[in-house]
Subunit: 141 residues, 2 copies
C-alpha cells in the first residue's frame, strides 16, 4: 500500500512550471546568460528558442571555462559568444506523464531535468529537491 | 523489513571521504577559489583551515556576486578578497553516526552536507546523489 502511493505520482504533481523557471533565449550572448545566472543564483538554467521549445542547458561552469585564458578570466569575450555555442544539449528530458521511479532514476545524475510536451515545447523542470521532499514524506508515513 | 534496511544505513556508508573532496583553504584569495571551482567543475566546495577543520562553504555564485559591479564583473578584485570574507558559514553539518533519515531531511535544502568529527575536523561530504542512489536501490528491491 505504501509502495503503491509513490508509484502513482507523476511528473505533473512535482513539476515547477515554466513561468516560475529562470531561463535564457537561444540567441543571447554569454554576458546576458551569466547575469541571469548570478542574479537568479542558479548554477544552470534551461535555454529556450523564440517559440519556447527546449534547446539545452547553460551553466556558470561552462561559461567561465570558455573564457578562462592563460592569465585570467577574459570576461570581455562574453559579449561575443552566444549561448548556443556553449550550452549542453546532451541531456535527458521527461514528459508530464512520466512516473515517479523514472524521475528518481533520472535525477541521480542530474540536479534538474527539463519537462517537455510531445512537440518539444518547454513545460517546466523537475528538481532533485522535489523528489527528495516526496521521498521524505513517503518514509515518514 | 524493507524499511528496516534503510534506517540501518548511516553517513559512514554514504560519505565521500575527505581525500576525494575538492576544497579551498581559509586564507586563499577568491581568485584561487574560483580557479579550483571552475577546474573541478563543482558549484561549491568546503573551506577548511590549516588544521583541516571545517569552516564553511564557498561557491561560484557568492564569488561572482561579490565582484559584480555596475558595468561589468570586476575580476581584478578577486586577488584582493579572501575566501573567509565571502564564504557561507550558516550550514548544517553531520557526523558519521547520523542515520539515513537525518541525511535525507538535511539534503532536501542542501546539495551537499559536510561531515565532521566531534572536534570539528573535516571527514568528508554527503551528497544528494549518494542519497538518491540509495533510495533508488531501496525502491527496486
Ligand atoms: N533561490 C533559492 N532559494 C532556495 N533554495 C535554493 C535557491 N537556489 C538554489 N537553492 C538550493 O540549492 C540547490 C542547488 O541549486 P542549483 O542552482 O545548484 O541547481 C538548481 C538549478 O540549476 C535548477 N533550478 C531550480 N529551480 C530553478 C528555477 N526556478 N529556475 C531555473 N532553474 C532552477 O535546478 C537545480 C536543482 O534545484 P533544487 O531545488 O533541487 O536544489 C537547489 C535548492 O535546494
Ligand atoms: N565531475 C563530475 N562528474 C560527474 N557528475 C558530476 C560532476 N560534477 C557534478 N556532477 C553532477 O552534478 C551534480 C551537481 O553538482 P554541483 O557541482 O552543482 O554540486 C555538487 C558540489 O557542490 C559538491 N560536490 C560533489 N562532489 C564533490 C567533490 N568530490 N568535491 C567537492 N565538492 C563536491 O556536492 C554537490 C552535489 O553533488 P552531487 O554528486 O549530488 O551532484 C552532482 C553530480 O550529479
Amino acid at each position: 500500500v505504501e509502495g503503491k502511493s509513490l508509484t502513482e505520482i507523476t511528473v505533473e504533481e512535482l513539476i515547477i512550471s515554466s513561468e516560475k523557471v529562470a531561463h535564457v533565449q537561444l540567441g543571447n550572448p554569454l554576458e546576458h546568460a551569466l547575469l541571469v545566472l548570478v542574479k537568479s543564483g542558479y548554477a544552470a538554467v534551461p535555454v529556450l528558442d523564440a517559440t519556447y521549445k527546449f534547446k539545452g542547458i547553460i551553466g556558470k561552469n561552462a561559461i567561465l571555462d570558455r573564457v578562462l585564458g592563460l592569465e585570467r578570466f577574459e570576461m570581455e569575450r562574453l559579449s561575443d559568444i552566444k549561448v548556443d555555442e556553449v550550452m549542453n544539449t546532451d541531456i535527458p528530458c521527461l514528459t508530464k506523464e512520466d512516473d515517479f521511479l523514472t524521475c528518481l532514476k533520472t535525477v541521480i545524475n542530474h540536479a534538474f531535468v527539463c519537462v517537455v510536451d510531445h512537440d518539444g515545447y518547454f513545460d517546466g523542470i523537475l528538481t532533485r529537491r522535489a523528489i527528495l521532499k516526496q521521498l521524505n514524506k513517503y518514509l515518514h508515513v
